[in-house]
């Protein structure tokens, strides 16, 4: 009986197809990805059955942290943030910003310092700014700076949708104050950012 010889096969695999797939996926992810700006506060939003999605631009966001600090953020579509800062320094001539500070304002995400401290905050190095714990924007009736931010933010981007992103545990009086500020500025329609929760009515239908 002759020995059965196993034919020696090459171990090289044609990688072209795999490579195609890999790069196809790569392009997809590169196109769809959007880098998040750094958020200085971690907020755990409550859940609701609402399924309305938020757009990514034209958003004026007020964040309320669990300890009741208020933060302000606006996206930089069509240089909104540049204009916002210009308006702020127009309104408050004592607040003038250098080009470096202006750039820092555009690049930084959430703002949570009183106007008086804004210049100092923007003057910090980037790393220091990330580490700095912001005291929050004052919303007291005597010194309501949030109202100024909202007013100027709306003037800088009239199409902006106004959203509140509150932590589950943040005290209601603070939210109430923020909502009152909105009403004072004639913002009567706004969105609350929530997590998704299953609708019990839909569960019944299943």
């Amino acid at each position: 009986m002759p020995k059965v010889k196993v034919a020696r096969k090459s171990t090289a695999i044609d990688m072209t197809a795999m490579c195609d797939v890999a790069f196809l996926l790569l392009t997809f992810f590169m196109m769809t990805t959007e880098f998040r700006g750094d958020e200085s506060v971690i907020v755990d939003t409550p859940s609701s059955i609402s399924e309305i999605k938020l757009p990514e631009t034209d958003i004026l966001n007020v964040t309320i942290s669990s300890d009741g600090k208020v933060f302000f953020n606006i996206d930089n579509k069509n240089f909104t943030r540049e204009r916002l800062l210009e308006r702020i320094s127009e309104k408050y001539p004592e607040l003038q910003f250098t080009p470096e500070e202006e750039r820092a304002f555009v690049l930084t995400g959430t703002i949570g310092v009183p106007l008086a401290e804004l210049k100092g905050y923007l003057g910090l190095e980037e790393n220091e700014r990330k580490m700095y714990s912001q005291p929050g924007i004052p919303v007291d009736s005597t010194n309501n700076e949030l109202g100024i931010w909202i007013m100027q933010g709306r003037l800088s981007n009239p199409n902006a949708r106004i959203t509140i992103k509150g932590d589950q545990a943040c005290p209601w009086p603070v939210v109430k104050k923020v909502m009152d500020t909105f009403q004072d500025k004639n913002v009567n329609k706004f969105n609350l950012i929530t997590d998704l929760e299953l609708d019990p009515n839909k569960l019944k239908g299943l």
Partner: protein, 177 residues
């Protein structure tokens, strides 16, 4: 160099013939790189856009008179929910000093406030839900109640300030426990 040596060795032989080179390229490193980048983008990308709940607040009235008129209108149809701290929840029907149904404690489960809301909503025509939160309440409680409005499909509700009368009633109820 290798090529030169080859040429020389074959010089005297037959015709010069080009060595057939394989057109295959080793793709392994390229695939490696591709997948590395894919993993990176997959991990950094965020698909879930945040959900939102829309809220419309009434235009702030300029005078006090309007408010009283509102109250008079609503008296029989006002379903009041009081959101308190420690996840406690109360409701009553009517006005605080002369409620049609007295202040009762309930909870956030489906058998609690949702059942009451559905019952009342079908028995009372044009019911208006007034949501009042005490200072001890947290944001989550209020959002839960607003969500409850969506679940029970109640279109007429308002988020209003708690009145001293309500607080008084609440205090009395808690003392009786």
């Amino acid at each position: 160099m290798a090529e030169l040596a080859e040429k020389e060795s074959k010089k005297k032989g037959k015709k010069k013939r080009r060595k057939k080179m394989s057109t295959r390229v080793d793709m392994t490193p390229m695939v490696d790189l591709g997948f590395l980048l894919i993993t990176f983008f997959m991990l950094t990308t965020t698909f879930s856009k945040p959900q939102t709940m829309e809220i419309n607040l009434p235009v702030k009235p300029k005078g006090e008179v309007v408010e009283e008129q509102e109250n008079a209108l609503k008296a029989s149809k006002a379903f009041n929910i009081i959101v308190d701290g420690e996840n406690r929840l109360f409701w009553y029907l009517g006005l605080p000093h002369e409620p049609l149904e007295p202040l009762t404690e309930t909870n956030y489960t489906a058998d609690g406030i949702r059942k009451v809301l559905l019952e009342k909503n079908s028995s009372i025509q044009d019911m208006v839900v007034l949501i009042k939160a005490t200072d001890a309440a947290v944001y989550k409680n209020v959002v839960d109640i607003l969500d409850e409005m969506n679940i029970s499909n109640i279109k007429r509700y308002a988020l209003i300030d708690i009145t001293p009368d309500d607080l008084e009633e609440l205090k009395n109820l808690k003392q009786g426990e």
